[in-house]
Symmetry: C2
Subunit: 261 residues, 2 copies
Amino acid sequence: MVPKKELNKDLINLIKHGGGVFHPGLSIDCVIFGFHSNQLKVLLLKFTHVEQWGLPGGFIYQKENTENAANRILKERTGLDQIFLRQFKVFGDPGRSDNSLFMKVMELENLPIKTDNWLLQRFLTIGYYALVEFSHVNPAADTISIACEWWDLHQIPSLILDHASILETALDTLRLQLNHQPIGYNLLPQKFTMPELQKLYETILDKKLDRRNFQRRMLGYDILKRLDERREGGAHKAPYLYSFDLRKYHKALDEGLEGGW
Amino acid sequence: MVPKKELNKDLINLIKHGGGVFHPGLSIDCVIFGFHSNQLKVLLLKFTHVEQWGLPGGFIYQKENTENAANRILKERTGLDQIFLRQFKVFGDPGRSDNSLFMKVMELENLPIKTDNWLLQRFLTIGYYALVEFSHVNPAADTISIACEWWDLHQIPSLILDHASILETALDTLRLQLNHQPIGYNLLPQKFTMPELQKLYETILDKKLDRRNFQRRMLGYDILKRLDERREGGAHKAPYLYSFDLRKYHKALDEGLEGGW
């Protein structure tokens, strides 16, 4: 736990000197979805002084690649790196910038409110999303927040700015992505059953899928290896275990799943 | 044809005063694909002084929505509006900004080269793509270019900055999009045959498709109406004519094609 005093020093430093360090007028917001035992959650921060929840985000250093900036932010909030992080949209409505949030922070930190401060300008934001195994994650608050927690997608609190719309767009994109890209590696155990894989899809899509169609389609993608082992111990006939054929899985990540045009 | 003198006045104005008018450090580049009689082309500009080709682009006014900015740029270059324009990626590598291009322009316009000029800073760019019927388009050069022409995708000249990579990413995205979104409205005549629709897909994908698979899959999308008319006059059996069911077509644009998860 970082002592409050030091935390506010970082915050004041960001407000006063960030303008010379970061690319102007552009931020990054990360929608970090977490999957664990058939639950889908999203990681949210509670912002200092503002006392409202929002997406973890940050800024791009003047000589930093945007992808590196997004990975840095993800790592700072979750401790994870080498995560599949996907840029999905720039949010550029001029009405989305609301400088009353940072004005409130400046006021409560006893800083002068200068209208030419870099944080009080119009910001566009680049949305990224990631899907991680949430039991592997240690959520950590940042310079401008006092809490970082997983929230159930069905019970999201009111979010700052246009973050509710960013979250919704990320979820739509993730669901659409299931039609042309593989998913599951790093989210399921190394060996898994077809019903376990189906549960992952059903949890993300928030709907039931037909068992036989699911199996036929999934095998048609040609990214699975059926092992010579079965999952013993259940009430039903012991189901086969599968693992991903990682060479084919990564090829499908690059080139799209089989069955496309 | 705009007289050369006036064109350079606009260019000088952009260099000198654009910094107070546009959002800093962020541009838009448009990959405008054109389809006509089974050819796929892309619209390129030849830049003033630089004498090199690149994508049509522009900047975002300080209070302008990014989508509106992209549509404005598309309209200025093609005369078309209400075109399906899709944001596909932000290009944010710090190495992509090369201010030697604008320095050359400043030098040849006898302007002082000030390193704090807004155009000499790092720029990220938002890529948009559109697909239009190119016989409907009147290509028009802009303030910073001397020519605007359609180029065959197989014969693209060397392009400025990272524009070759932006173009390639747009084409990959367009091809992937065919797996979950309908295409063809505004590109084909109102009534068309299945072979004509297949030719559109084959031209975009740059490969042959199996006739029977194509027909089965396309009918499975449930966006076509088969008409009680046939295309007469060919050597083969007269093929049926189809048109898009526009209600279902637009629903599929919003929600994805049938057959997804």
